[in-house]
């Protein structure tokens, strides 16, 4: 027999162990929370940092004279006539006025590449909204092309500008010119280019040696032959690079796969094509006309580190954009297009408004279908239905439905709503119906749990004073279960709001350039929703869609948080009213 002191000692020994286990459990819990929060912070932080450039946009403001002859060809200010106006021509003329020296077709095309012609539709809409503008000169602001925008935001290339000192003279103000400096200021460029060329040549030679080694090692004659060809090609490329770099009297030709060199002098910009005369002379063409040709002490050499062939924006376009910024025509502002426009092929005009309206309409349909049907089902099963095999079978199947992959609901929607019922594709109505099917099980299960949690004494009390079953449910049980039902419904709807897969099946993945109208009619117009918009943008060809994808993710997250905040608020309200 153990006596009392023994028992105490045994309990004490176990007690220390029990407390240690509790302490360990707490530490694990805290670690888990820290890990979760830091991963979440990392995720949101990286998305936010990627999205930054999407929230800024460079806009060009230019005064445009709405010449009546060109805007209103019929001269009657009618809508039909105003629609035939040459708005893009006006915009082109306005831009040409900035750079009168740009004349040949190729250069003009590059200049007009600084904005998308889609902007002319915006100008047209402005005139259509107010025909009295015809004949006036207005300030029109539009976003510059995404490539120019990315350059101005410093995302395309790094650049340096340095003043070499000494005097320089340019032969003309436009066209092909020769810049003559009093010393060999251009020779560092020549040396730099040679170094680059030689480095590239030796890289090619190394590659050729590797191929040759592999060719001798391989047993297959065919493979050896192929490798030999590759090696020979690399060697010949290397040889030509070395020839280019050969010191033939301190002169060198520029090429698009070398960093670009530009000269700023006398208020203009010259692109260097060739350096000769021992680094004293540079030849090139004028991109922005010079003010005069007198000798200048105050000039600089401007280097764009990424070669022209490796970026989507030409030297000329960079120079013009930079010049427009210097003249105050181009200003970086908050990107409102992201919030006021629907989708567009051009990133600078693309926005999420269409997707937000589509989401709102889709969610409206989902909510109107899933919540009443789901709650009614839950109330019937929980409060009225007899507990028998049939209701048991239904219950099992509802639980199974909650686990069905969402794409299956999309297939169902395609087969039933679109093929069988002939409802429109890409419409929020069908999307909402599909998502409602997907959300129903969640709403039913959570609502049933909420109803189950209402104490039976309340039902007895109501029945005891003579309330009917329906009165008992409506007056007493439902109000008490409302916070739980609300939470469940919101969880279900939030899940539906982030769903992409089922919507792909019913065609909501289409490119929709017009926001659906925020009305009943909008329910059958083609639309897309936020997650699908994100999916589309993530696949976008233009680099500028990358930050916009991240921005759209942030907007969707913000919408979700807002949605949940409303739910929490409503829940509090309901609970306070007991």
């Amino acid at each position: 027999m153990t006596d009392r002191t023994d028992i105490r000692a045994m309990v004490q020994a176990r007690l220390a162990k029990r407390y240690r286990a509790e302490g360990r459990f707490r530490i694990f819990g805290i670690l888990a929370i820290i890990a979760a929060i830091s991963v979440l912070a990392l995720l949101i932080g990286s998305i936010a940092s990627q999205s930054l450039s999407a929230f800024r946009v460079n806009e060009l403001t230019r005064s445009i004279t709405l010449d009546a002859n060109r805007v209103d060809p019929a001269g009657d200010r009618s809508e039909a006539s105003l629609r035939r106006g040459a708005y893009n021509g006006l915009m082109q003329d306005a831009l040409r006025a900035e750079f009168p020296s740009v004349e040949n077709r190729g250069d003009l095309r590059q200049l007009f590449g600084l904005y998308t012609p889609l902007n002319s539709a915006r100008l047209q809409n402005r005139v259509l909204a107010d025909p009295s503008l015809v004949g006036q000169t207005i300030d029109f602001t539009f976003p510059i092309s995404d490539d120019a925008d990315r350059y101005l935001q410093g995302l395309t290339t790094t650049s340096q500008e340095m003043a070499p000192g000494g005097a320089a003279t340019v032969s003309a103000t436009t066209g092909e010119v020769r810049i003559t400096a009093d010393t060999d200021v251009f020779s560092p460029i020549v040396a730099d280019i040679r170094e680059t060329l030689i480095a590239r040549a030796s890289q090619l030679e190394n590659r050729a040696s590797r191929y040759e080694a592999r060719a001798t090692a391989t047993v297959s004659a065919e493979a050896a032959e192929g490798l030999g060809r590759e090696a020979a090609q690399a060697r010949s490329e290397a040889t030509s690079l070395r020839e280019l770099a050969a010191p033939a009297g301190e002169s060198v030709n520029m090429s698009p796969d070398l960093p670009s060199r530009l000269v700023r002098i006398n208020g203009g910009v010259v692109q260097i094509d060739r350096i000769s005369d021992g680094g004293r002379t540079a030849e090139g063409r004028v991109l922005v006309a010079l003010d005069h040709t007198s000798t200048s002490q105050d000039w600089s050499i401007w280097t764009l580190d990424i070669p022209q062939s490796a970026r989507r924006i030409l030297d000329s376009q960079i120079v013009w954009t930079e010049t427009l910024r210097e003249r105050g025509r181009v200003v970086e502002r908050f990107n409102t297009y992201l919030f006021t426009n629907a989708d567009s092929r051009e990133p600078e005009l693309a926005g999420v408004l269409g997707a937000i309206i589509g989401t709102a309409l889709t969610m409206l349909v989902t909510m109107l279908l899933a919540v009443p049907v789901g709650v009614a089902t839950a109330v019937y099963l929980e409060e009225f239905a007899p507990k028998n095999r049939l209701t048991g079978f239904i219950e099992v199947n509802i639980n199974n439905l909650a686990a069905v992959p969402s794409i299956v609901f999309g297939l169902l929607g395609l087969a039933v709503f679109i093929s069988l019922f002939g409802m429109p594709r890409s419409a929020p109505l069908v999307g909402g119906m599909v998502l409602a099917l997907m959300t129903l099980p969640t709403v039913i299960i959570t609502s049933r749990a909420a109803l189950k949690a209402v104490p039976p004494s309340i039902r007895e009390a109501a029945l005891g004073v003579g309330a009917s079953r329906l009165q008992t449910v409506v007056h007493h049980v439902l109000p008490l279960a409302a916070p739980g039902i609300l939470t469940g419904s919101i969880i279900g709807l939030a899940q539906a709001m982030g769903e992409t897969a089922p919507l792909l099946m019913i065609g909501m993945v289409a490119f929709v350039a017009d926001a659906p109208s925020l009305s009943l009619g909008g329910l059958t117009e083609p639309a897309t929703v936020m997650p699908v918009q994100i999916f589309l943008w993530s696949d976008g060809a233009e680099r500028a869609f990358e930050p916009r994808t991240a921005a759209a993710i942030l907007i969707l997250l913000a919408l979700m948080i807002g949605f949940n905040a409303v739910a929490v608020f409503l829940r509090r309200r309901f609970e306070r009213r007991w």
């Binding site: 009390a461 109501a462 029945l463 003579g466």
Partner: protein, 270 residues
């Protein structure tokens, strides 16, 4: 039913026979699924008096009580057979609407269960759903009268808009009684109304029951022998689903005819 043949028959005291009955039970059987909870109970319950049902746990006394307002029907598996009459009118038939019946037969439960609404709304709920008041003032009158009858008016008159479940346990139970009498029932059923209350609150409820006796037919289920002796005029002793003995309370407690009653009352079992 099947096995009721080998059961002892009920002993009725003289005063329990042929009394002016408000409620008459005749051959009442209650089944929960396959299990029979009440065996062929027959008794008459007088008006304007308190009848106590006593007996050990699981003896069927609550089940019998709940047949009188057909609350058993809310349990899926429960079935009730036999005749239950109030003022000679059969209530255990499909033709009688249970909702209507429950307006005539109020019920107070073991645990105070006020609605999570204001004190006023708790009492006004019954009159509202039955349309007993045509105007707001009439409704307020009903609420005030009911609360006065339940002896709660003086305590809550100045806070009728506050939640009913903010009151103390004893107050809540009196609120529930007020809610029951607000629909002017003829019968009030009480299922162990004091088991969740302290002695002071219990005493207050017992006083109230005594006052209510003047106007209502009250049936109370209790585990407390002393309470049965204090508040009731008639006592019925149940055991294993049988009504064992039924008579005036004084008789049952001082001169039980059955040994089982004697054993239970003296605390030898149960």
């Amino acid at each position: 039913m099947a096995d009721s043949g080998n059961r002892t028959s009920t002993v009725y005291h003289d005063a329990a026979r042929n009394l002016a009955a408000k409620i008459t039970l005749d051959g009442v059987d209650v089944f929960y699924g396959q299990k029979q909870a009440v065996h062929s109970v027959a008794m008459q319950i007088p008006d304007r008096s308190v009848t106590a049902f006593i007996g050990p746990s699981g003896c069927g006394k609550s089940t019998i009580l709940r047949t009188i307002n057909r609350m058993n029907e809310t349990i899926d598996i429960a079935r009730t057979f036999g005749s239950i009459r109030i003022d000679g009118e059969e209530i255990n038939s499909k033709e009688v609407d249970p909702v209507l019946l429950r307006a005539r037969v109020g019920m107070v439960f073991q645990k105070p269960n006020p609605f999570p609404k204001s004190i006023f709304d708790n009492v006004a709920y019954g009159p509202r759903i039955h349309g007993l008041a045509t105007s707001k003032t009439e409704l307020s009158d009903i609420v005030e009268t009911s609360l006065r009858k339940a002896g709660l008016w003086d305590e809550v008159a100045d806070r009728l808009d506050q939640p009913g479940n903010g009151l103390s346990g004893g107050q809540q139970q009196r609120l529930v009684i007020a809610r029951a009498i607000a629909v002017s029932p003829e019968v009030i059923l009480m299922d162990e109304p004091c088991s969740a209350l302290d002695p002071i609150a219990t005493a207050r409820i017992e006083e109230l029951i005594d006052e209510l006796r003047e106007n209502y037919c009250i049936v109370i289920v209790t585990h407390s022998m002393a309470q049965a002796a204090r508040v009731s005029q008639m006592t019925a002793f149940f055991h294993m689903g049988d009504l064992v003995e039924y008579g005036p309370t004084e008789d049952i407690f001082t001169n039980p005819h059955q040994s089982r009653t004697q054993d239970y009352i003296t605390g030898r079992f149960g």
